[in-house]
Amino acid sequence: MTRSLRCAFVGVGLLAFLASPPVRHLLETSMTLHMGVQLPLLFLCGCMCVWPSRSACAKRFQDWNVAGLPGLALAMALAMVWMIPLALDAAVANHLVEVAKFACLVFAGMVACLSWCGAPIVAQGFVVGNVVWMGCVIGMLYQDTPQRLCNSYLEGDQQRAGQLVVINALILGCIWFYCRLRR
C-alpha cells in the first residue's frame, strides 16, 4: 500500500471514530472540544480522504478552479458557517443539523485539499493569512463577550473555546510557514 493511500484510509478511519456516538457525545459536551477539536478534525478527515487522488482531481476541475481560488473560497465559506454560535447550538439540539455539519466540514476539507495543490503561493498565503487573522479575531471575541453565545454551553467554556480557536489559528499559520521554508 502506498503512503498516500494509507493516508486516505486513516482519514476514513478517523471520520468513523469521530462519528461514533460515544466520541461524538464526548466532543460535544463542551464548546471547547466542539469548536476547537471536532470541527478542525472533521476538516482534516476530508483532506486526508482525497489525498491520493489530489492531482488527478485537480487536473479534471482545472478549468473551473483556476489557481484553486473558487474551491478555497467555497471551503472557507462552508467552514465559516459552522463558527456561528447559532449553528453550534443547532447541531447539539438537532440530529439532522448534526449530520449536515459532518457533511459540510468533510466536504470543505476535500475541496480545500483538491484546490490547495493547484494554488500558487500567493493564493495559499492569502488564504492562510485570512484564516489566521479571522481565527484570532473570532477567538478574542469569544473570550471578551460578556454574554453567553451558546445556550448549550457554560460561560467559562466559551472563553476556553475562544483561546483554543486562537491557538489553532496560530498553529495553522506556523505549519504553513514551516512547510514553505522547508521547500
Binding site: N65, A77, P85, L86, A93
Partner: protein, 232 residues
C-alpha cells in the same frame, strides 16, 4: 471605406480579449456561484443577517410565527392544580412567563425583581385583570411545593397577579422547555446555567413574543397592547 479598418481593429481586439479571458471564464463563473451560494447560505442560517445566537433566533422565530404550547400539568404555590395551555385560555388574561429555579443567585433574581416591579405596576394601574405573571421552575425535584410557597412569601407574591408553578411530570416539562427553547446546563458547582427571557403568551394559549432579559418594559408593553384588544 473608413469603416472597415476600425471594425477590423475591433475584431482583432475582441479575439485577443477572449483569448485572455477564455481559460479564466469558467472559473470566474464558478467563483461567482460560490460567492452567491455562500451569501445565500449565510443569510439562511442567520435569518437574513439578523441573528448569530440561538437566543435571538428563537425571538425572531416566535415573532414571525406564534407557537402552540404543549400540555403541562402544574401546581401553583398554593397547591392548586391546572393544565396548560387550557388553563391559560380559560383565565383569559395575557400571561408573561419566565423559567427559573429558586436557588439561582444570578439571572433568576433579576427576573424576580423585575416581576415584583411589574406586579406593583399592574396593581397600581388596575390592569391585573388583563395581564398576569407566571414563573415556572425547571427544577421540580428540588423546588417542591413547600419550597415554592416559601419562595412566594419571600418575594411578596400577590396571588391575584403572580403565580409560581411547579410542573408535575418531568416528561412534559422537557417537552415544554424544548418548545420554548430554554436550555439548562449544570455547571461544576451543581448550579444551572440557563437562558432566560420574557415570554408573552396570549389568550389563545399561544406563545406570541419573546423579549430579552434587559427589556422587561417591552414585554409588558406588548402584553398590554394585546390585552387592550380583549373584551373586558
Amino acid at each position: 471605406m473608413p469603416v472597415e479598418p476600425s471594425s477590423k481593429r475591433l475584431n482583432k481586439f475582441s479575439s485577443q480579449l477572449s483569448l485572455i479571458l477564455r481559460p479564466a471564464f469558467k472559473s470566474v463563473v464558478s467563483f461567482a456561484l460560490v460567492l452567491c451560494a455562500g451569501c445565500v447560505a449565510l443569510a439562511w442560517v442567520t435569518d437574513g443577517f439578523t441573528v448569530l445566537t440561538a437566543e435571538s433566533a428563537r425571538q425572531n422565530a416566535v415573532a414571525k410565527q406564534p407557537m402552540d404550547l404543549s400540555v403541562l400539568n402544574v401546581r401553583d404555590q398554593a397547591g392548586q392544580p391546572s393544565v396548560w395551555p387550557q388553563a391559560l385560555v380559560e383565565d383569559g388574561r395575557i400571561s408573561i412567563v419566565t423559567f427559573i429555579y429558586t436557588r439561582c443567585k444570578s439571572i433568576c433574581s433579576v427576573l424576580n425583581a423585575q416581576y415584583r416591579q411589574m406586579q406593583e405596576e399592574l396593581k397600581r394601574s388596575g390592569l391585573q385583570n388583563r395581564v398576569r405573571l407566571l414563573t415556572v421552575t425547571f427544577d421540580p425535584a428540588r423546588d417542591t411545593l413547600t419550597v415554592l410557597a416559601e419562595h412566594a412569601r419571600a418575594l411578596n407574591i400577590d396571588e391575584q397577579v403572580w403565580h409560581i408553578v411547579r410542573p408535575e411530570l418531568d416528561g412534559e416539562l422537557a417537552v415544554t422547555l424544548k418548545r420554548f427553547g430554554i436550555v439548562t446546563v449544570l455547571d461544576e458547582n451543581g448550579e444551572y446555567q440557563h437562558n432566560a427571557a420574557w415570554h408573552v403568551v396570549d389568550q389563545r394559549g399561544k406563545l406570541v413574543g419573546i423579549f430579552p432579559v434587559d427589556q422587561p418594559e417591552r414585554a409588558l408593553q406588548h402584553a398590554l397592547v394585546l390585552s387592550s384588544s380583549l373584551t373586558p
